[in-house]
């Protein structure tokens, strides 16, 4: 038999352990159950956590299975399937809002733009499919950080670069922003990533109610905002679009 890698075997054993009867286990429980030194167990758990396969409860410090595991196997939604389902709705959002539309998913430490509809005027625009956006400052990124635990971990653990004076960088402030997003169901970015540019975005769910992506509009701050507030019609149009795509993916009415 070919040689096997001991640390992978141990990682697999940990996942099996966490998938068993007791859902949340502390570091010493894991180490004891598998007969490992605490330091060794901690190293493996941290690696699994980084990959999204394991999550740590912030208050108790106990470990549980991570959301990334759910992405594996059947529940995995192909991003090109997502684009195909979103096509009609995002076209309509661009038409009704008069702004460019972006659809993004979590990829590594940022937002990968998987679909882009031009702003419906005759100006020259470049297709931005394949471009990356930051998680902590853009509307798409903040939606993902608020709803997807893996994105949340990426955004909270990485250094949050200050792109403009409006970028929220402090951890407590950032968590506060995410709480507000979860309460309202949508996120905004008013000159937090690019000067003069504002965006609004909302989450897309699949049939398992898993957050699989975010959709939003981006435009000049003068158009997107009115009397110092984001235009409510734009917010409504973005949320309608996100709901329509989610319905197409099989998520129930909500």
């Amino acid at each position: 038999m070919a040689r096997t890698i001991q640390s992978l075997e141990r990682a697999a054993a940990m996942l099996r352990l966490l998938a068993g009867g007791e859902r949340r286990l502390g570091l010493s429980d894991v180490a004891a159950a598998l007969g490992l030194a605490k330091g060794t167990a901690h190293g493996i758990l941290r690696t699994l956590q980084q990959e999204g396969f394991v999550e740590q409860d912030p208050t108790s410090g106990r470990y549980q299975l991570g959301a990334e595991l759910l992405r594996l196997g059947n529940s995995y939604l192909d991003v090109h399937e997502l684009r195909a389902r979103a096509l009609v709705w995002t076209d309509d959002l661009a038409r009704s809002s008069g702004e460019a539309v972006y659809l993004g998913v979590l990829h590594q430490q940022g937002v990968l733009v998987v679909h882009h509809v031009f702003r419906p005027d005759d100006s020259r625009q470049v297709l931005e499919v394949g471009a990356m956006q930051p998680l902590h400052s853009t509307a798409l990124g903040k939606v993902l950080s608020a709803y997807d635990p893996v994105a949340h971990a990426e955004a909270t653990e990485a250094a949050r670069e200050e792109f403009t004076p409006h970028t929220v960088t402090g951890l407590a402030d950032f968590e506060g922003v995410l709480d507000l997003i979860r309460a309202r169901g949508w996120a905004s970015d008013v000159e937090e990533t690019w000067e003069g540019v504002a965006s609004v975005a909302a989450p897309i769910y699949d049939r398992r109610r898993m957050p699989v992506g975010a959709v939003g509009i981006t435009g000049a701050v003068e158009r997107v905002r009115e009397d110092g507030e984001l235009r409510s019609t734009l917010v409504a149009a973005v949320r309608d679009c996100a709901r329509a795509v989610s319905r197409d993916l099989g998520a129930g009415r909500f």
Partner: protein
């Protein structure tokens, strides 16, 4: 759709398609207000025969129109005109006194007239009527289907000669019924649908007596040929009083909906198969490269606009084949994921000549090949080759159009389901060395019918107003260097060569 800020008045378009009938209501900006759709039965009486029940289709059309109005929460007074677009070439004969079809409609895909077409070619072959009609003698077109019905339905020829029988493609059937049927329905067709019968002369825009004689079709059954955008009559029933004001075959409607109003403008619709049409203005261009010469549209009493048409038999269906027969992907969209996992085709080329090579080769002895295989090639390379096959075939048709017309393609406007495939669109742009542009409304076929109807009743003043409605949703620009493109094209052509002569004897 998602918001109600659009206000009337509106135009309704009916799309009587191969698998379903749809009604879409559009507002003045060309935005979709509501959609309803219903599928009808595909009837296969024998292998390679395909029929539709025309009575079922008419029932479905009435239903989708009612439902579209209900979904839009508007009444018929808000609708200023109705436009029709339809599956082309599908052929129906019905009794003018009872309104009942004498036989199921024979669908364009049905090949029962293969032998008849060879017989009609006599010693000249399939180009016998090409000069007059722009078409080769092939089983798709309506004329031979009419002849088959007259020969095979008992007593039909006598009834037809007595003037009791009406012929029509699906546009004629829908318009006749919409405008009252046995109670004063108008029996008309438009120039685009008439150009697919093989019975109309492209130069005169009238039924060609010589061809009618050759095919033994009595003139009494034929509808009046009208323009694509004029008021044919007013509707009865659900749409009481609304002008029926446009008819266009589906591919021509897409050309119109994509606002390809200038010479050299072209659209390509990527579905199961692909249809590429290029506006050639007032020029009837005889194709020596295996393309079809057809009517693009005619607005009222303006001069007709002609088009060259090339089709690719296997595009979306190749992706479906990869999914259903090969099991390499689980959804059609995944082909892009698989293909994107590699940088190039790894030397593999896939020529999907599943039932021979079509334009510009027309070789029925060809069969599909995957060429250039080495141990290095993975399923991801094959997926890439699958997408490249659609792009190269587009290039071949564009080249043929250039050869026939001398007109350079400036940009290709695309629509249809496969436009959601970003890698495919980029590849097409790379291979054509021209921009590929997707408009914001995907439903260009229905939009074209709505546009033509709206023009006829003055809802829109002119084609410039329609152009102003056109919005670019995405544009892909070429990124491939010329050397790579040329080298790859050469390899593709070598692969194409290897498909030919696979079948020893043509039947």
């Amino acid at each position: 759709m998602t918001d109600a800020h659009t206000a009337g008045p509106f135009i309704a378009a009916i799309d009587q398609g191969t698998t379903s009938s749809r009604c879409i209501v559009f507002d003045k900006d060309g935005r979709i207000v509501s959609v309803d759709q219903k599928e009808h039965e595909q009837i296969f009486p024998r292998p390679a025969w395909v029929e539709h029940d025309a009575a079922e289709i008419w029932t479905n059309v009435q239903e989708v129109v009612s439902n579209a109005l209900i979904k839009a929460r508007i009444s018929r007074e808000d609708i200023k005109a109705i436009g029709i677009t339809n599956q082309r070439e599908t052929t129906l004969l019905w009794d003018r006194h009872t309104g009942e079809p004498v036989h199921n409609a024979i669908v364009w895909q049905d090949t029962r007239t293969d032998a008849l077409c060879r017989e009609l070619g006599r010693n000249v072959g399939q180009d016998r009527f090409r000069r007059e009609t722009g078409l080769p003698l092939a089983s798709y077109f309506a004329g031979p289907k009419v002849r088959w019905l007259l020969d095979n339905v008992e007593g039909l020829r006598e009834r037809a000669e007595r003037g009791d029988i009406l012929f029509g493609t699906m546009d004629s059937w829908v318009i006749w019924n919409l405008t009252g049927g046995v109670d004063g329905g108008v029996h008309v067709t438009d120039v685009t649908n008439a150009s697919r019968t093989m019975l109309m002369n492209l130069h005169t825009m009238e039924w060609d007596d010589k061809i009618l004689t050759s095919m033994e079709i009595p003139a009494a059954i034929l509808p009046e040929i009208r323009s694509s955008a004029e008021v044919y009559g007013t509707a009865k029933g659900v749409l009481e009083g609304i002008p029926v004001a446009a008819a266009l075959g589906d591919q021509q409607a897409a050309l119109f909906g994509q606002t390809c109003f200038a010479e050299g403008e072209a659209k390509s619709t990527y579905g199961t198969g692909t249809f590429l049409l290029m506006n050639t203005a007032d020029k009837i261009i005889n194709s020596y490269s295996g393309l079809l010469t057809t009517v693009g549209y005619r607005i009222g009493d303006q001069k007709p606009v002609y088009a060259l048409e090339g089709s690719i038999a296997v595009t979306g269906s190749l992706v479906q084949w990869m999914r259903d027969q090969m099991g390499l992907i689980s959804t059609a969209a995944e082909i892009e994921t698989l293909a994107s996992s590699v940088e190039d085709n790894g030397g593999a080329y896939f020529v999907p000549a599943f039932s021979g090579l079509f334009a510009p080769y027309w070789r029925s002895d060809a069969r599909g090949v995957i060429a250039g295989l080495t141990r290095y090639v993975t399923k991801a390379h094959i997926a890439r080759a699958v997408l490249e096959a659609t792009a190269w075939q587009t290039r071949e048709i564009v080249d043929a159009m250039h050869k026939d017309s001398g007109v350079d393609l400036t940009a290709l406007k695309v629509d249809g389901g496969m436009t959601s495939n970003n890698l495919l669109m980029q590849t097409i742009s790379d291979f054509l060395d021209a921009p590929v542009v997707r408009p914001m409304v995907a439903e260009t076929t229905c939009l074209g019918a709505a546009y033509a109807a709206g023009l006829a009743v003055g809802f829109w003043p002119d084609t410039d107003a329609l152009r102003a409605n056109w919005r670019r949703a995405a544009e892909w620009t070429p990124r491939m260097d010329a050397d790579t493109r040329d080298r790859e094209y050469k390899s593709w052509l070598k692969a194409v060569e290897r498909t030919m002569g696979w079948i020893d004897h043509e039947e």
